[in-house]
Symmetry: C2
Subunit: 210 residues, 2 copies
């Protein structure tokens, strides 16, 4: 599939572009600035320009599936949490409906399905992620929601715990998140499902076989 990666320049996004290739897909990295092109071009990809806060319709040309991995990051205010994490996602979902996208995978966060139970310092963020996930569920698009635990920059191990619900806030390397998303993209058992995802004992390719 030709897969638009929204937020490709992020830490997880870059891994996703790499892993999609490993899994036989053609990633189309969407970035905000041509300065971000060389990183992807050097790997043989053809990035497209698109700004979540403006117009990014042209990025959908000839796209089969969308992975939403954008986030405003830890150094911006809650205003950007609304504009990027929540509204950027909702806009991407709406435009995906318009363009007839076959599959939409969203990178959410552990606890985004239970925002009211999270600490006050992150509660607004969890509610914003929750709204985006809920919008996707009700969009009519074929979706998969992946809610990873606390992200680390460690190398991937290829082994995870992928379940409907994992208690607490365990960790997981960004590389393993990216591989799991790339794996789930074309798995029929992941259609219209939501998962928590943390490091574990099961090989990624075997997570749906039990």
């Amino acid at each position: 599939m030709r897969v638009l990666v929204i937020g490709a320049n992020g830490k997880v996004g870059k891994h996703i572009v790499d892993k999609l290739s490993d899994y036989g897909h053609e990633p189309v990295p969407m970035v905000r600035d041509t300065d971000q092109f060389p990183h992807f071009e050097e790997k043989g990809h053809k990035p497209v320009l698109g700004d979540l806060e403006k117009d990014f319709d042209s990025a959908f040309y000839n796209i089969d599936a969308v992975i939403f991995a954008a986030g405003s990051g830890p150094h911006t205010g809650a205003d950007k949490t609304i504009l990027i994490d929540q509204e950027g996602a909702i806009k991407a979902i709406e435009r995906s409906k318009y363009f007839g996208i076959k599959k939409f995978v969203i990178l959410s966060s552990i606890a985004a399905d239970r925002p009211e139970s999270t600490p006050d310092t992150i509660k607004h963020y969890m509610f914003a992620k929750h709204r985006a996930d809920e919008h996707l569920k009700q969009s009519g698009l074929t979706y998969t929601i992946v809610r990873p635990g606390i992200l680390t920059n460690n190398s991937g191990t290829g082994k995870v715990k992928l379940q409907k619900h994992v208690p607490g806030f365990e960790k997981i390397p960004r590389e393993d998140v990216a591989e799991t998303i790339s794996f789930l993209l074309s798995e029929s058992q992941a259609l219209n499902k939501s998962f928590d995802l943390v490091s574990g004992e099961q090989r990624i390719q075997e997570t749906l076989t039990n």
Copy 2:
């Protein structure tokens, strides 16, 4: 009707409590702190305790209609915009469904139906208000959405412009907003409709007759 006023201690909320009485309703002011009780008790009302960020189910006892006039105010961050203006409203809508509330009126903001067109400084706020309004529209509740222009503390004139859409950002006294909401509450022509509201030339009671 017995009308739960969420955000009763706010500037518009206090006017709403007064105007509801003028229009023959029984206001039930919901406030966060018993310190806020005397203001309402002195006027013969019976306030109830409820915190939008926690539990406020007990406030719904014997309530017919809900007016949502809460807002995090201009001195808090965008995190509170998410938690109060957006999520507080969504929670109030959901609890109103649960309790079989007959009518839900939300105090929105002019331009909340076109957030993408607003200045960057207020865009996140407009999107949060927009999400709350959209949630109400799709809730199945009988609703009225009122989007006032820039609020002033001037005395009410009793004359407004109430239309589906008013361009720009005109002003309106909070007292006139409160009276318009109180008037619309039991008007069948306002059911499941949304209005912009600014100062104008038409008497409030005649706004739906043209």
